[in-house]
Structures are given as structure tokens and as C-alpha cells.
Symmetry: C2
């Protein structure tokens, strides 16, 4: 099914800002993971919220799917127009509209990337904390409820989005939330839209929390003999109430990946990468407390980095986990998956994840935001090898089942998108029907990112 009537009307509205160029379509059909290329029928480039509203109205009247597109860094294909229609590229709505330093918030457009926001904040002493690794767009991060390395201290997008403006499926422009830090007035539409993957509304503006840049920052690394030792050290650290700013696990395979991809020169043992934020005295105290815990678990080679350039290098390497994991398979593609479990079950989950990969003959790295109980398994795969693809799928399903058995969730931060719809019933049971009711109530024509998040039979 094509949507020529909608495209004609959109072309009249947008002129050259409705693109059907082959290269543009191809670009908007790509993704970072294993989903097949899926070019949309056209790409629309809105510049204002009223324009987004007009676009959605045109599409609603003609049954044309609208799939929002940010930085294309989503990992479950959320930005792919798999049912046709238009890719709504928010890239031209990329301004910082206001920085309210005194209230520690910023108002931004959805196409702005997180690093561009932090660039703009440089002179303020404030920063935007959510750091999923990729230079994702703010709208995409909200839509997928992104988190990342600093969520253990500063929260995920759930905690850092105060208010939204969104265009709903009938073109209505709504505002949710306020600039106050809390509210008890009615249904929490902000948190309903955060994580809805563009299926309930198109985010056109965000008010996000900012945090003060800490007076002192120190990073550190250490290594352990076994992944259980590393994870048990994390568990005790969190339980002790140490306000870790980052606490990341890299298993031995991940370290091997960094050595191969980035010449990291690290012994191929499980490592923790850490960051401490606070006053100078506070950071020193935290580091000492952590070190005492870590040494009880046999940690070796505790090394600190207080110079900004050394810390930056450390986290830049960490953020290349995606490519370093892929590199392990000799330049193959990566199938990334993530789960999140209660921290008391983290060691069990990680060990099961490693063992399952070995049993299934898959090359797999484990890297994770373990302070939250969240970790990623990165499978190095060849998309043309049907057998390997089937095993990767089976592995992903198995890991999801493990997470549910341990009281966790089938995704801590990647979301559902295309890839995990089959897990929704297992995680949500009867609640899934109420999610469907919301979708039907908000988007009766099913034009917003169809085919994502909710399984068709939900």
C-alpha cells in the first residue's frame, strides 16, 4: 500500500522539505543493528510545531503512517517506517529554546542532540546527565526512555523530563507537565509519552532537568578474577549507599574487544569503570569506601583518572562498546540486546548470559550499567548466516526469559520497537490490554509508528 494522496498533500505543504530522493530514503531506512534496510516512502523535514501538526493532520486524514526520526541511534528499529508512510525527520527542530539556569532546566527541540545541548550549557556550570553513549537526539531519547552510564546517579529520561509538548495523532498540540519540580494534578501524560516510542504522539519540545557540574570528578578502573567478583562488588557498593556517578562492568570478552578495536592494552579480565562526583573531600571519601569494598572481592590494579582528558578518553572508549563488540567477530554486524534485573540477581543473570552464549556458539560481549542491574549482551553476527541469526534470536529470547524469571524486565533501555514485541505479554500480562486501550484511544487510526512496541494481537 502506498500513500500517494498523502504525499501529494505533504508536498504541497512542505515543497522541497518533502524528500523522495533515493539517497535520502535509503539513509532513513538504515539502522545500527540487524534490522533489514527499510526506506520510507518519503522524508518530511518540519521546522515548527504547527507544521508537525499540519503534517500529522494530512496523514491522519489519509491513513498514512508517520514515524518520527531523530538520530537513528535506536537499537530496536524504533525509527524505521516498517509499514510505509513518511519518516518525520526532526533534525531541523534542533534548537535550545531556553536555559533556565536558576531553575536548573532547559527547554529544547527534539532534534537537538545531547552533546549539542551540553556544548550550549558549557558556560552555565550545568549539564544534562543522560548519556546513552550514542549522540542521540533529545526527542528520540525521551521517546525510547533512554538511560545510560550516569542513570545510577542522575536517573534516566523518566526522571529527567519535566514537561513535553507533543503533536497527537489528530494533530492536536498538547503540553504536559510544568516547570515545577513536582505536581499532583491529573494523569501523568509526560511519563506516558516518555517511552511510548512515537506511537502515542510526536514530541516537539522537551523541558529537561539539568544538574550542577560537580566540583570534583574522578574516574577509576579496576579488574577482577571473575565476573561474579566484579558484580558482587557492584552489588555491595550500591547497597552501601555510595552515590556512584558511573559504575560500568566490562566482561573479559568486552575487554578483548576494546583491545582489538582500540588498542586498549588491558588484561583480558572483567573490569569495572567508575566515576565519582562530589566535593573534593566527598570524592576522596567515596573512592576510599569503594576501594575497601573492591579489595574484599580481590580487585587489582585500581587506577584513577582525575585529569579531564584521561577521563574523557576512558569514557570515549566505553562508548565504543558497540563497534568494539562487532569487531570481535571480524568486522561483522552487532546484534545488541539488553535486560535489567534486580541487583541481587545480577551476578546470576550475567553468568547465565555468558554461559548461554558459549553453549550456543555465539561471540558475545557483556557490558553494562550494572549499578542499575542493567546490562547489554552484544552478539557479533553475520546477517547473511541464517543459522547464526536464528541462534541470536533464540539467545535474545532466552535472556529475556531469564530477566523475567529473576523479577526484571526484558529491556532496561533499548525498548521494544520491532524486536521484543513477542516478550510484551510475558512481561506485562493483563496490563498489555490496557496499553492497547491507550493506543486505540489516542491513535484510533493507527498512524503513529505502526508496527512498533505493541504486538498486533495485543
Amino acid at each position: 500500500m502506498t500513500h500517494d494522496a498523502a504525499l501529494a498533500a505533504l508536498s504541497a505543504l512542505l515543497g522541497e522539505r518533502l524528500s523522495t530522493g533515493r539517497a535520502d530514503l535509503a539513509l532513513h531506512g538504515q539502522n545500527e543493528t540487524y534490522y533489514p534496510d527499510t526506506p520510507p516512502e518519503a522524508v518530511a523535514y518540519p521546522e515548527t510545531t504547527p507544521e508537525v501538526s499540519e503534517i500529522v493532520k494530512i496523514c491522519a486524514a489519509r491513513g498514512c503512517p508517520v514515524t518520527a526520526y531523530g538520530a537513528a541511534s535506536s537499537l530496536e528499529g524504533q525509527h524505521l517506517a516498517i509499514r510505509g508512510g513518511i519518516s518525520l525527520d526532526m533534525g531541523r527542530m534542533n534548537r535550545v529554546l531556553a536555559v533556565n539556569a536558576e531553575d536548573m532546566n532547559a527547554v529544547v527541540q527534539p532534534g537537538l542532540t545531547r552533546t549539542a545541548l551540553n556544548e550550549e550549557l558549557r558556560a552555565t556550570g550545568l549539564f544534562f546527565s543522560v548519556d546513552p553513549g550514542a549522540d542521540a537526539s533529545m526527542g528520540g531519547m525521551a521517546a525510547t526512555r533512554a538511560s545510560g552510564t550516569t542513570a545510577v546517579r542522575y536517573g534516566t529520561m523518566r526522571e529527567n523530563v519535566l514537561a513535553l509538548e507533543a503533536v497527537m495523532a489528530d494533530g492536536t498540540i498538547v503540553r504536559t507537565g510544568t516547570k515545577a519540580r513536582k505536581s499532583s494534578t491529573g494523569y501523568d501524560l509526560t511519563h506516558l509519552l516518555v517511552g511510548s516510542e512515537g506511537t502515542l504522539g510526536i514530541i516537539t519540545e522537551l523541558t529537561v532537568r539539568l544538574h550542577g557540574i560537580p566540583e570534583a570528578v574522578a574516574a577509576a578502573t579496576c579488574r577482577f578474577d571473575t565476573v561474579e567478583d566484579a558484580v558482587n562488588c557492584v552489588i555491595l557498593t550500591i547497597q552501601s549507599g555510595l552515590p556512584m556517578a558511573r559504575i560500568e562492568l566490562l566482561d573479559e570478552m568486552m575487554v578483548k574487544g576494546f583491545n582489538r578495536y582500540a588498542d586498549a592494552g588491558l588484561p583480558e579480565k572483567p573490569h569495572l569503570f567508575l566515576e565519582f562526583h562530589g566535593t573534593p573531600a566527598g570524592v576522596a571519601e567515596q573512592m576510599e569506601s569503594f576501594r575497601t569494598i573492591a579489595e574484599d572481592f580481590g580487585a587489582e590494579a585500581f587506577a584513577t583518572a582525575t585529569r579531564p582528558e584521561d577521563r574523557t578518553a576512558l569514557w570515549a572508549m566505553r562508548h565504543k562498546a558497540h563497534y568494539a563488540s562487532a569487531a570481535l567477530g571480524g568486522g561483522k554486524h552487532l546484534w545488541p540486546t539488553d535486560v535489567c534485573v534486580p541487583i541481587s540477581h545480577l551476578a546470576e543473570a550475567v553468568v547465565e548470559a555468558q554461559e548461554a552464549a558459549a553453549e550456543m556458539g555465539l561471540t558475545c560481549t557483556i557490558v553494562g550499567h550494572v549499578g542499575d542491574g542493567n546490562f547489554h549482551a552484544g552478539l557479533s553476527i553475520d546477517p547473511t548466516d541464517a543459522g547464526e541469526m536464528a541462534r541470536a534470536k533464540a539467545y535474545t529470547d532466552k535472556l529475556a526469559q531469564t530477566a523475567l524469571r529473576l523479577g526484571g524486565t526484558v529491556s532496561g533501555e533499548h525498548g521494544i520497537g520491532i524486536g521484543k514485541q513477542a516478550q510484551m505479554a510475558g512481561e506485562h500480562g493483563q496490563a498489555l490490554a490496557f496499553m492497547r486501550r491507550i493506543k486505540t484511544a489516542f491513535d484510533p487510526g493507527g498512524i503513529l509508528n505502526p508496527g512498533k512496541l505493541l504486538p498486533d494481537d495485543a
Copy 2:
């Protein structure tokens, strides 16, 4: 309209646990504020979740309203069965089902009060942080998105509810969320139910976050010449990133109330009541930093309380603000209202609130969780004085308009209930229609707490 058919069926199900005794009805029709007594037609005392489901099914089939009842400490009449039907008293579902100390969460039933939970946690080194003053029930606190004195550090119910079990309007039992600290799997039904005031589902179980009891705790008080000085001190403290555990403003009228009600013996000037949590060194550092800021705003009589009994006495007094405010009017009733604004506008909002009360001839205290930008105005009123009641209503509306003008919300923590429905359109605009869509999709028969939160014309 009465609901005799429903009551007969409920009586068959519950036996003596469906009460129509006059005293019981009268008790369930009372409230702490100015709403007229509104006895329900009957009171049901469920003991299990399946029983709640059966009750709701019976009521749904017969169009009988169901209004959940916790500790009756809500301040906007949320627990009153104003459209008749039953009061669903959750008081017998008051157990702690599990304390997962290693994951820092607890699973509790909705009728449990927050102080009973903290009693049970005594031996664990953990505590449940949300402290609205009243000994509210956990279910009620979630339903009204309660917060209180410690929200500035530990968050409100929004941040502290991980997962819920709820009975929906058709009797379906759903589970939302997991025991993992974060998730990206589908629509956030947990946050949709938190703050829904019993209009979307009946909460039958909660998984809540716990926090480690800090190694060191110190409380402090100080006073200022003007309320602007006090508030500006708060603003700078928050902007400086000091991790305040509590930072409460009491204006001169509130102090007068404490002097009269509790012989507090405090000079009748604006005060801040503070609490610092951390390591011993951290607390000392925080107190010194605060003191430096406070002295710049002319703070006097900085006094600290590190002994637990002194701290307890201080916060016990603070928690009597409701009654101390009422006492100012010579034993009259209290009309409490609250708003929340961006902290940069807090001084302006507080001064306007004081001036408006004076202009309107109302006796009013201001007390607030000012670190969040949230404050309460407590009007001492005589419900039999129609003129005073009209002025109190006008004052409340004016304060809500002030909050909206300053980018805030018409309630930071009391909610909408009966009293603030007229403000919903002003705060939410077009979004209100989407709240109504959710209500209609979840509760098409309108049996769950009808007449609350959403205005009838929304």
C-alpha cells in the same frame, strides 16, 4: 440514586465485611478539611486482591461507584464517595509482604501506613522516605502522588513506586512495572496509576523503593528578617547543589501558630527547618556550606540538633502544621491549599500568597517544602461563615492562577480531588481531553471514584 442491587450482591460476598452501620458510614464520610460530610451507602472491607476484583465486578455490572479509602488523610476529599456507592476501605490489606533488603525495595499492601512500614524496617538499616506528615496509607499516597518534607532529596511517590498491582474497572487484576530499577518496555502504567486518585484502578499492592538510613543525620533551624531572605537562601542552597534532605519554610504566621498550639517559644519571624544526611564528614561539610549561604541572607540563631530525640521533636512539631494553622483562628477549621512553582519564582509566589491573604482578610499560614518550590497556604476558616468560605475559595483560585502564571502547577502534592477541578483546564489545556480519553478507555462505566480529578465537562 441508590445501589441496592449492588449492595445486596456485595453483602452476599462479604457478609459482615460489608457494613452499613451508621457510625461506620459517618466515619467514612469525614475529612480533614472543609468538605461537607459525605457518608457512602456502605463500606466494604476486602482482605485479598481477588476479593477486590470480585467487588469491582459486582459494582461494574450494576453501575455502583467504588471509592477507595485509605487513612482518610487526603486534603482534597479524594476518599469521599460523593456520588454514592461504596467506600472500599483497604485497611485490612495492611501487611508488609516482602522486604528485599538487598534490592532496597519492599512489597506492601495499600492499607499499610508509612509509619507502620518504617517500624517494620527498623532492623534493616533501610527506610521508606516519603513523608507527607500525616500517617497516610501507602495506597493512598500512591494514588494521590504524595510527597512531603524529604522529596527534595529522595523524591515523591512518583520516584519511589517501582511497581503496582491494581484492580481495573472491569475487575481485571494487572501488574505494572517490575522489581528492576528501570525499564523501557511499553507504556508506563505505573506512573499513570500513581496520581490517578483511584479513578483508573484500585491499587492492591505496591513495590516501593527503600533508602539506606544515612550514617549521620543533623537537623538545624535558623530565622530570617523577611520571608524573601529565607526563600532566597533556599533558592541559592538548591542551586548550589547541596543535597538537602529537608528544607522547610515556616512564615511568621506559621511560627505564631506553633507558639500558640505547641508552646514552641520561637521568635515570630520566618524560619527554615533543615535536615542534612550523609557521612559524618559530609554532613559537617553540608552544614558549613549552608551556613555560609544563610548568613549572606542575614540568618540568625542557627541551631543544630543531632540527638535523635531533638530531631524527632522538631519534625513532630512541623508535622502539626495543619492543626497549628487551624488553631490560629481560635479552634476553627483549616482550608489547606498548595501550589508548586519553579524555584526561581518562589519568593514572588510566597509574597503574593501572604499579601493576598492580608488583602482578603484571611488568617493564613505559609509552610512549605520549599526546596521543591512547593508550599502550603493554610486558611483558618469557619465553615458556617459563607462569606469567609467564599473568600477562601477566591483565595485558593487566585493562588492557583499565580502558580500557573509563574510556570508552576496548581498542586504540588494535595492533588485535584473535588476542590481543584476548575483549575484543570487552565493547567492542562488540550491535554485534558487526552486524560478524559484514558478515563473513558479504562473505566467506560465511570464507576471508579466518580466526580474526582476530571471535571465533568472535560
